[in-house]
Symmetry: C2
Subunit: 224 residues, 2 copies
């Protein structure tokens, strides 16, 4: 066995690309999907397809009850808004989500003896999300190296990898395609229909479609 | 309504004292109990009794599936050891536990508009736990103030209160008694019997009994 990495995998386009990136860097992959009651359950099926394609050693899917579930449109509060470029934090923001996800990944990493954690955070198109910025990723790396037995007693050093941090959607899609990611098995839509087809109008669909255009590629997804 | 605080409450002696401390500081209390499959389920009943006694505005009990559940004797891996003074991290250590708990508390606090989070971490008797040290608490406070919309966009400042950090068990018990905490409704044992009675021999029982002795008080708990 080589070096182990825990990869946070939602089943979206970004995290599927990160999983492929970790594979290309020759890590043994331990993928973690956290199901916190997102509306887009189809993502979990996409996550399974991606871990299979990348020959992950293990894929864990864990349920998490969010305490703040009424405060984001992703988990139950209000309508998903149509796509528009914005400067403030979008209503799809889930309070402290990446802190929770990284904490769970860290816990698993420590128990596996892994030092590397991958997350598909990107600060370019989602500039509104405070927990997708470099300052946040750095602060979490500090937590990992201060708050664990592995770092304190076993001389381990945790690294939080966010390889998409400075990439726009078009660049991510181009990189994903280069790494052979099956984009038909990724989900982006915040509000799919009953058949699981993307709506084509939410924030996330808007960014995705713009990204494919920027990359000069065709989105293989079926839209409603 | 006054100022809101989210208080992490396990139902143990430390967190019950912290709940009373937050009440004494005149916060409106929002207690959060995370059930990650600990062996000592009796703690949850104790947590309920404490929130009732302190007239908490709300008490949320959420289930969390730990990814690292085989790596601690608390959540399923191996025997709970008898009490002994130790310098290394005890086998009851749950990887990144306080990072996960604080992340969940932060998520709820942000959605409530609260800026204050209380945790019963103590570095004195549990010197082995890396996530019970001041450096860890400080690092998490940084995370909260870097990784949230509330801090980034609404000018809020999160504070992580760990009022027991420098207190030994004897001092905590004396302070809890002073604040009127019903110590009979707190649980410490890692390995209670079928009737929920404390074992009197695990790490946590050992510390508790020593603490009552130091405080010159009698433990009202029934031991097996």
């Amino acid at each position: 066995m080589g070096k182990k990495a825990v990869v946070l995998l939602s089943g979206g386009l970004d995290s599927a690309t990160v999983l492929a990136e970790a594979k290309a860097a020759q890590y043994d992959l331990f993928a973690l999907t956290v199901d916190y009651g997102q509306r887009h359950r189809r993502e979990i099926d996409c996550a399974k397809a991606q871990t299979k394609a990348q020959k992950a050693v293990e894929h864990r899917i864990v349920r998490l009850e969010l305490t703040a579930k009424d405060s984001s449109v992703l988990t139950g509060g209000g309508e998903v808004p149509a796509y528009e470029p914005r400067k403030d934090v979008p209503p799809t923001y889930v309070p402290a989500r990446n802190t929770i996800l990284l904490a769970m990944a860290l816990s698993w990493a420590e128990s596996l003896g892994a030092e590397d954690i991958f997350i598909g955070a990107t600060a370019v198109d989602y500039s509104g999300y405070p927990d997708c910025r470099k300052a946040f990723i750095d602060a979490f790396e500090t937590i990992a190296n201060v708050g664990t037995k592995a770092a304190m007693q076993e001389g381990k050093t945790f690294r939080i990898h966010a390889p998409l941090l400075k990439m726009g959607k078009g660049e991510i899609i181009a990189r994903g395609a280069q790494l052979g990611v099956d984009m038909a098995r990724t989900n982006s839509c915040y509000d799919p229909d009953e058949l699981g087809r993307a709506c084509g109008r939410c924030d996330s669909c808007g960014l995705r479609l713009k990204g494919f255009k920027q990359a000069g590629l065709t989105d293989p997804l079926e839209y409603a």
